[in-house]
């Protein structure tokens, strides 16, 4: 039982603290800089959407207002079985966008169709909901001046990151979590590559794109990781910002389940990621993506083993007591989230809107 306890401590400690510490040291001792240069190559922006009629006009207006030569921007909108009157919206947009209409088939298939219709060599992927900052596109393509860089991950800014919790019930916790994730992403980029990208804003060289299987859950991890397996780098550009809101807790939970299920799926789809000879960022991938999948089981082992050992030693008794305090705090946090939602529901319909979701947290 002692072995179980200490192995669990080491494992959880490594995934959440040891690995970030390793990244901090590694990025300081052996950084891999990449060359950035202001440039405006022709780009194709691909947006896959289903029933987003309410968002599309504003989204296209946002993209057409970017600080970038508009003649060099092709916008492809792939409609995956939309039946919400999107066509009326598209008529108003005229020739500002190229439209690909598909029967319902999923996002991956929509992206494949969008890329097939692309005219330019730099692909930029975006979502219908998250607007770009005006200089986002310039910041996104600047690292592509380095031929070793195959793709660039932008930064999704969640409104709750300011620390005031935004108007979201779970904003504070998600804000902290998302800041932690972005810190990891930034440092992974400094020593090689990020482990995927943010679906709301990332760029990829077209020659690195491989058609996605139709049932792909995490297109924004699979496509960039295939580029990494092809010896290209995916780097993080903090200046390339898109914006979103944090989600209510229930929405966030279902999104996380889906994201983590996607991490399992990717291992089945690309088993080379588990091969240290094939995956240039194997250690990072195992530590960050795979390690997270096993942390909850180590946490359970930690509770059980410390409870069993507590009567025999004060060390384990303290460890058990610390966990009790932690989970009691989490329960209090759950109460706060519930309370916030109830208050938000009584004061603002928008704050409790279940359609407001946080995207891009693919860990």
């Amino acid at each position: 039982m002692e072995i179980v306890f200490w192995l669990s401590v080491v494992f959880v400690g490594y995934v959440y603290a040891g690995y970030p510490a390793l990244l901090a040291v590694w990025s300081r001792l052996a950084p891999k800089p990449f060359r950035e240069r202001p440039q405006t190559p022709p780009v194709t922006i691909v947006i896959a959407a289903r029933n987003e009629a309410r968002q599309l006009a504003a989204r296209v207006a946002n993209l057409r207002a970017l600080d970038y030569p508009q003649a060099d921007v092709q916008i492809i909108l792939v409609l995956d079985g939309s039946d919400d009157g999107t066509d009326a919206t598209l008529e108003r947009l005229g020739d500002q966008i190229d439209v690909v209409r598909l029967p319902p088939g999923g996002k991956a298939r929509a992206l494949n169709a969008g890329v097939a219709a692309a005219r330019h060599d730099i692909l930029v992927f975006a979502d219908a909901r998250q607007p770009f900052a005006s200089d986002a596109l310039r910041a996104l393509v600047a690292p592509l001046a380095d031929p070793a860089v195959g793709g660039v991950c932008g930064e999704l800014v969640i409104d709750s990151e300011s620390g005031d919790g935004g108007d979201s019930a779970i904003g504070e916790g998600i804000g902290g979590y998302w800041r932690y994730e972005k810190w990891l992403r930034r440092h992974e980029s400094l020593i090689g590559s990020t482990l995927g990208a943010t679906g709301a804003i990332y760029a990829l060289r077209r020659d690195l794109w491989r058609p996605l299987p139709d049932d792909t859950i995490l297109d924004d991890v699979l496509a960039p990781m295939r580029a990494v397996l092809n010896s290209s780098r995916i780097v993080f550009a903090a200046g390339a910002r898109a914006f979103d809101h944090a989600a209510p807790a229930a929405t966030e939970l279902s999104r996380k389940i889906r994201t983590l299920a996607g991490n399992y799926q990717i291992l089945r789809c690309e088993p080379r990621l588990l091969n240290p000879r094939a995956n240039p960022v194997w250690l990072q991938y195992m530590s960050h993506k795979v390690g997270r999948l096993f942390v909850p089981y180590a946490l359970v082992a930690l509770v059980v083993s410390s409870a069993a050992l507590a009567p025999a030693s004060p060390v384990y008794a303290v460890a058990f007591a610390c966990q009790v305090v932690f989970y009691a705090l989490a329960a209090y946090g759950a109460y706060l989230v519930w309370r916030d939602r109830r208050q938000a529901g009584s004061t603002s319909v928008a704050a409790a809107d279940p359609r407001v979701v946080m995207k891009g947290s693919n860990t």
């Binding site: 504070e172 902290g176 996380k256 994201t259 705090l329 946090g333």
Partner: protein
């Protein structure tokens, strides 16, 4: 204004939520959730 203990509680809740999601992900993968997110 949120107290420090409230901030910590919310982060602790998020941590637990993420780990619950990791446990649920395996059966979710087996059951194949909807293709669209």
């Amino acid at each position: 204004m949120m107290s420090k203990i409230e901030r910590v509680a919310r982060v602790a809740f998020t941590f637990v939520l993420m780990n619950c999601a990791a446990v649920a992900a395996l059966p979710a993968m087996a059951c194949r959730q909807s293709l669209w997110r």
